[in-house]
Symmetry: C2
């Protein structure tokens, strides 16, 4: 994959860094062994139990096209559907053809990504119905907030892709929302983005938009994954019609499908993490097997989103110790199948406070040490997904950058080991002004963007602002200074023409 | 070791749970493979480089007793000291006799602990000069705050030991401070505590206090480690006189010594993490070797506290990505020597905000997945150690409890796998009211103490309190409802007599 940085994009990166300092764009790879919370026997037990669920209970596929495909392949369809039962051997055979890594093209080749193997990608918040910031408080999602969150996603190098819409722009009619929203993403960003599988038409529109953005013909797009969609099962054990339609079109056009059961233990899944994992795995396997019937070698990702509810209230919880272990166990299952793995950065907190940070950390450690390749909702997600918070976005960027640095190898040359430097300073000395230190002054350590390391007196004199208030001034500066990445005039014109025409046609009828 | 729970202590635990719910007391063991940030070759490189430092540069031992011991053992002493150089073979030979695990006795046998192997112990904050809470703000440490923090330490089961004084009670004269402080710990708590190695006399007083508390003769105490002391090197490469005196007395009396270099990369250690690790390891090895000359088989712990400074300001930073990797690397070194490992829960934050939580999380994951057996400053540490915060204490308890649950095995019986429960509910159903869920209603998931999982509207109606304000009401409730654990009358009287006599004698003269 080309890694050349054009003079143009180098200029752009340099300018962004002048605004708010940050780590450079890089492909992140996890050098560590993932944490195994399940024994090998337990991995097999989850595997076998989930095959038993698919054989005996089955899964509902709520679309005739899926039923037809599955029946033709030999799955056991109950009357005319929607219940489908699977022979375990058929599932095991089908998932063998799923590729272990996926290269995904951005319209700026510098922002291409790889999903799978040891690669780690952090994505922005997706699909929040509300937005929030410290100045204006919490409000229903709108296009202005949508656009600003897209700009933050574009700005920060540690976020390699967009999720769905960072916030739902509900001030735009649902029939034409995807047109305005995706056009805005293309105009403000050159990173890989997502299309919602809400029926066939929206996916076809999204495919045309990403084709225009990349400036390539459709047959090339089919060979070059350039967009992803999240397929959520309607747990337990159902796949909805609009999701199925989107999934079929995405796969037929060679694009990336991330299959994610949303198995909340105690609500849509058993009140045990083992049971929720069995159900997650059954739903994921059914979707993965189905994907290979649409097209052998379809590029799909195993998604895990098992968490638990508060048993007293039924409220969903995230970043709990159960969540962390489930995220790691999900990674073990995905690796058993050799399929890329998706996890999330999740919290149920209502404020950008210590809870928001520790729940997100528990999620992030679960994702990263669970071997996730694709970490949804990496920046900005709050309230269990009900809010995209501008301040949480910045706090998350700090946490993601710290995680990104954690994944870097320690410099370890003889010079770095510093035996001579230690000898030069000797007992009781100090290293502040030594040559060894001066040589490393600029880049010795990770420079934070939110963390304040002043002493208490200096911090108090500078306003005693907590991390959320410091984050507030950072996102505003980034948006103030934001400049969209260049989009060639011909593509911009073609995009406007297409969007204009589709809007004039009325977009997609209500469904 | 006896694990019987007397009827008395069961009653006490039940009462505490009525106050603020919490996890039960338990010995924590880490079931996971530690994360290796160094390759085997890099571990050897640190080992060899640190031996070279001890051979060529040497370390200053600022006490004639240490010099005499080291010289007699064949170390190379420069004139009359303080510089001591070590033959690498001598160091390697000496540290072989360090035990891999240490059983430490509390005055309540239910609160005995094990340090080493896979055991994980979280300790309270130690040695902060200031205290802070949301009601009264930040103030110099005093005896009332000291006592309240001791009560919090006693109350929460996830904290298995006291560190030093949680906050320095500076309203008590330094000559008698240790007498009042340790007596208060014995009166309010039955957990293992710490004595400061500030010269010989204070350690002898502490030994008498712990002997009285346990109600045993001194020769039994010498056979039963019941107290610990932290020995910090004065980095680079110095061990101070008062520390040496305390270390010698603690070891001669069979008590636990935790040797911790404080190697801030860029200040008291090289501006590379590799170099800071070499220096940490050199200082630790020198102390560990010295400990075995005081008494073969002395129970010592390898402490790691490598972090980095902000290169622009010189401010110390904690919970950075450098800190996390150093904590894990330190664990690799300790395991290479088969010695128990100490790490910390550290943050430089000035407020109980997102920064405090994410830096602490980065520290805790470094400690736990670095294989630490002894995690200092587990609850309440802020501002790089300058403050013991009551609210941070509670936030930390939540984070420690979550980590404690993360270390528990997932229930994994056939029933837990839930194939039948999934079949009973079927596609599109829900698990709220099923028998499988009802059977697990009480104990299915970790119940948080600070985390608020209400939806935004309910959270707002209940006052929109962030995590720090919720923590504020929790610590006050615990202290309001606190009852000290029973101390037999004869021991209480003996303790008062001893303290009274030593205070009348004037305590320890200023040094």
């Amino acid at each position: 994959m080309p890694r050349d940085r054009s003079a143009r994009s180098t200029r752009r990166l340099r300018r962004s860094q002048a605004a708010v300092s940050q780590l450079p764009w890089r492909w992140l790879e996890n050098p560590y062994e993932p944490i195994s919370v399940l024994s090998d026997e337990q991995v097999e037990a989850v595997h076998l139990a989930s095959l038993a669920v698919l054989r005996d209970t089955g899964m509902d596929f709520l679309h005739p096209d899926a039923i037809a495909i599955l029946e033709a392949a030999g799955a056991q369809v109950e009357e005319a559907g929607p219940r489908v039962r699977f022979d375990p051997a058929m599932v095991e055979e089908l998932i063998r053809t799923i590729p272990g890594t996926i290269e995904v093209r951005a319209r700026n080749p510098d922002h291409n990504v790889v999903i799978g193997g040891k690669h780690v990608n952090f994505l922005a918040v997706g699909s929040a119905p509300n937005a929030s910031d410290l100045d204006a408080g919490r409000r229903p999602g709108n296009f202005a907030d949508f656009s600003n969150l897209v700009k933050l996603t574009q700005h920060f190098n540690v976020v390699s892709m967009h999720s769905g819409y960072p916030v739902e722009p509900i001030d735009i009619d649902p029939g034409i929302r995807h047109l305005h929203a995706l056009a805005e993403i293309v105009r403000q960003s050159d990173k890989v983005f997502h299309a919602y599988s809400l029926g066939r038409e929206r996916i076809l529109d999204a495919l045309e938009i990403v084709r225009i953005a990349r400036g390539i013909p459709m047959d090339q797009l089919v060979d070059e994954p350039s967009m992803h969609t999240i397929i959520n099962t309607s747990s337990p054990l159902r796949l909805d019609g609009p999701m199925i339609e989107g999934m079929i079109e995405m796969i037929r056009h060679g694009q990336v499908v991330v299959l994610t059961p949303f198995t909340l233990s105690g609500a849509m899944a058993p009140a045990t993490i083992a049971g929720a994992l069995v159900q997650q795995n059954a739903e994921a396997l059914a979707g993965l097997a189905f994907s290979q019937l649409i097209r052998t070698g379809a590029q799909v990702v195993y998604g895990g989103f098992t968490s638990n509810v508060d048993m007293r209230s039924g409220s969903p919880a995230f970043g709990t110790p159960e969540y962390t272990r489930a995220a790691m166990a999900g990674g073990q299952m995905a690796r058993r199948y050799g399929v890329p793995y998706r996890s999330s950065n999740a919290t149920a907190a209502n404020a950008v406070d210590a809870q928001a940070a520790y729940e997100s950390q528990m999620s992030l450690w679960g994702a990263v040490m669970g071997g996730a390749n694709f970490v949804m909702h990496g920046a900005g997600w709050m309230e269990g997904g009900l809010v995209a918070s501008f301040e949480k976005f910045i706090i998350d960027i700090e946490m993601l950058q710290m995680m990104s640095e954690f994944l870097q190898p320690l410099p370890f040359s003889d010079e770095d080991l510093g035996v001579d430097a230690i000898a030069d300073v000797g007992p009781g000395g100090h290293f502040f002004g030594t040559q060894h230190t001066l040589d490393r002054y600029e880049n010795a350590f990770y420079p934070p963007i939110v963390s304040d390391w002043q002493n208490f007196e200096a911090w108090e004199m500078s306003g005693a602002r907590d991390a959320s208030f410091r984050a507030n001034s950072i996102w505003k500066r980034v948006i103030d200074e934001f400049e969209p990445p260049p989009l060639p005039d011909d593509r911009a014109a073609e995009l406007s023409d297409f969007i204009g025409r589709r809007i004039a046609e009325g977009g997609v009828a209500a469904n």
